[in-house]
């Protein structure tokens, strides 16, 4: 395993953890990519 592998593993892990945290934070809220913002869960 070389340095590039380690860097990529760290980056991938960080991205996946970030994505999971994002999804957990938005859990139960409207996660629809096309929402017009009319619903209470889309408060920006």
């Amino acid at each position: 395993m070389n340095a590039a592998d380690i860097i990529l593993i760290v980056l991938i892990t960080a991205a996946v953890i970030g994505a999971v945290v994002h999804c957990v934070k938005k859990k139960g809220s409207c996660n629809c990519g096309c929402c017009t913002g009319s619903c209470p869960n889309c408060k920006k």
């Binding site: 395993m1 070389n2 590039a4 592998d5 990529l8 593993i9 991938i12 991205a15 996946v16 994505a19 999971v20 994002h22 999804c23 139960g28 409207c30 996660n31 629809c32 990519g33 096309c34 929402c35 017009t36 913002g37 009319s38 619903c39 209470p40 889309c42 408060k43 920006k44």
Partner: protein, 783 residues
Amino acid sequence: MTLKELKIGGSAVITEVGGEGALRQHFLDMGVIPGAEVKVLKYAPLGDPMELLIHGYSLSLRLADAAQIKVTELDKDIAAEVEEPHRKHREHPGLGEGGRYHEAHPEKNEPLPDDTKLTFALVGNQNSGKTTLFNRLTGSNQHVGNFPGVTVDRKDGPIKGHPNTLVTDLPGIYSMSPYSSEEVVSRSFVLDEKPRGIINIVDATNIERNLYLTMQLLEMGVPMVVALNMMDEVTANGGSVDINEMEAMLGVPVVPISAAKNSGVDELIDHAEHVARYQEEPMRQDFCDENDCGGAVHRCIHGIAHLIEDHAKRAGLPVRFAANKVIEGDELVLKQLELDENELETVGHIVLQMEKERGLDRSAAIADMRFSFIQKVCRETVKKPRESIGHIRSRRIDKLLTGKFTAIPMFVLIMGLVFWLTFGVIGAGLQGLLETGIDKLIALADKAMKEAEVNEVIHSLLVDGVFAGVGSVLSFLPIIVTLFFFLSLLEDSGYIARVAFFMDKALRKIGLSGRSIVPMLIGFGCTVPAVMATRTLPSERDRKMTILLTPFMSCTAKLPIYAFFAAAFFPDKSTPIVVALYLLGIITAIFAACLYKGTVFKGDAVPFVMELPNYRLPAAKNVLQLLWDKAKDFLQRAFSVILIATVAVWFLQKFDMNLHMVKNSEESILAAFSGVVAPVFKPLGLGDWRIVTSLVTGFMAKESVVSTLEVLFTGDVTTAMTTLGAASLLVFSLLYTPCVAAVAAVKRELGKKWALTLVIWQCALAWVIALIVRLVGLLMGGV
């Protein structure tokens, strides 16, 4: 004669309003009261509903309801009348500011402590500019539309630069008699959450109708400021309002503003903060006149107010408001007051006597009392503007867009143009460019990783998994943004309200109301806000039925699936195929509506009463903000849900049950699981486990179908299925269960049972129709 019999261009005065219950109350609240003058503007292209001019605004009404309204024809044209106000040159009353008011009311000199949060309710009629003002006050970017009922739930935010404040934007209401569920939200907020102050936004171009709600708010005794919005439009068309006189007559500060141009908003904030801080209650709550028609209504209101005073105080209701609601027979207020039998009987007698003396029934008498006062205020203070350029322009545009013979062809043409530009020209062109860019980036990354001798597994995860999956979804961003651009143009321009108007008769045949068209059209963007938008529908039956039909409108998240398969299997017919899928969704919805109408939702849709806004040029900032929000949400989704899904799918198809990497994905964990479900899809020609997997991931997010296929098919997807299989897959994707976010929205609105039923029903229906498509294809010699 009845209103229904009045010809186009004819004016009349209303003599009697028939009907019963909440709908009749709604008519009265909209100003359809005995004595009001009306003019018939036009009939919808299908002959029903009709558009009326009443109290200076356009109201749509079904013919069946118009038949219950008796009128006497007038010789004059009511639209041509312009009255000059009686000028009084009154001094500024000084309400909502220091000085004169506080000198006259020394008891009001103690402000609330500085650390008290000043909460405000932003209340007004539908389409009066509440959300525009909310955005100005709070600096937020809530979506603003140009049809009644864009706001379906409350939104909060502090006033910019005033940290200890909170403004709540409430859905638009016409009165405090709740007619639809959004009106319940607004009424409950003012009654139960007791804001420190009310900012009542009044559309100055339509002042008579708007002041009806103002009067009911004044009765609540909450400190209030009236914001006369769109004053720029009034003055530009030769109109004016004597602000000092109006302030004196209403007993609350009146501030002329233009929310769209951000003028007068600072003054409004100062007055609102002042009335809330000093708890300056309205100076006037008594609008009945003892000299008006013998004073019957006056005596009735005051008599009942005294009778119920103790009950109202115990229930925490303003006495004057409660008295009027008791007279109107408002069930909710009567229940809250808990009057005993004697009191109820006394109330009944007082009301009966009033009805006898006044010659009007209870609801009409109260509405008449309010409109009489409004007329008095308007006579003294308002110089009506000439017909605005906006209205003249709207009338001209309407001749074409809602004309008898042109409305439906223009609707088809406009929608066709939207889809053609989205899928055939602008969106598709931009998508091609983005796709090329993404492919080049992936190739560069691939080359760099090979040169750096990156581990084979990591290389595969990135190139075959993340880049292929997320990249494939990202490339559809331009199509989605383009479709939203056109949908927002239609919505902001005021066209969607017209579609509701002329589609009402056709929609009634399948058991829906014209208003249902608004959530349906939003459904082409996304099912979640479409489900939320059904809150504007006044009847529970219409709401449920519309919610269950919106998932049939193909949302933008399904676009990547269509574009992906259409490009792979029908390269020369991509646009017609996508348009045909949209049409199939609509046809299936019509079929389902007929089925619902004959089974679970028997009966008719509630009558159609809707205000038609003027056409407006959509504000560039508003449209750009919406597009940015859409793009941002889509990108967030691609790098969250889709990223997780692609990594999970890559892992499951690269490893077996013993967590050993497999050479052939047929031996993977994913193949083992999906293989169990695959036989169900075999009759549809979709027996391949990879297709089944992609459809299952589509439940999480529709875009996942494409990203999963990109990960699973290292080769060409055309090798895994036939053209007919692709056709049935497209149909199945169109109709099967909506994504989890949409199901959650349905669950929020209708409950678990309906949400689960919807998932099962749509999957079953999608399976059957996809099978029919395949069988018909086979019969026609397809493969």
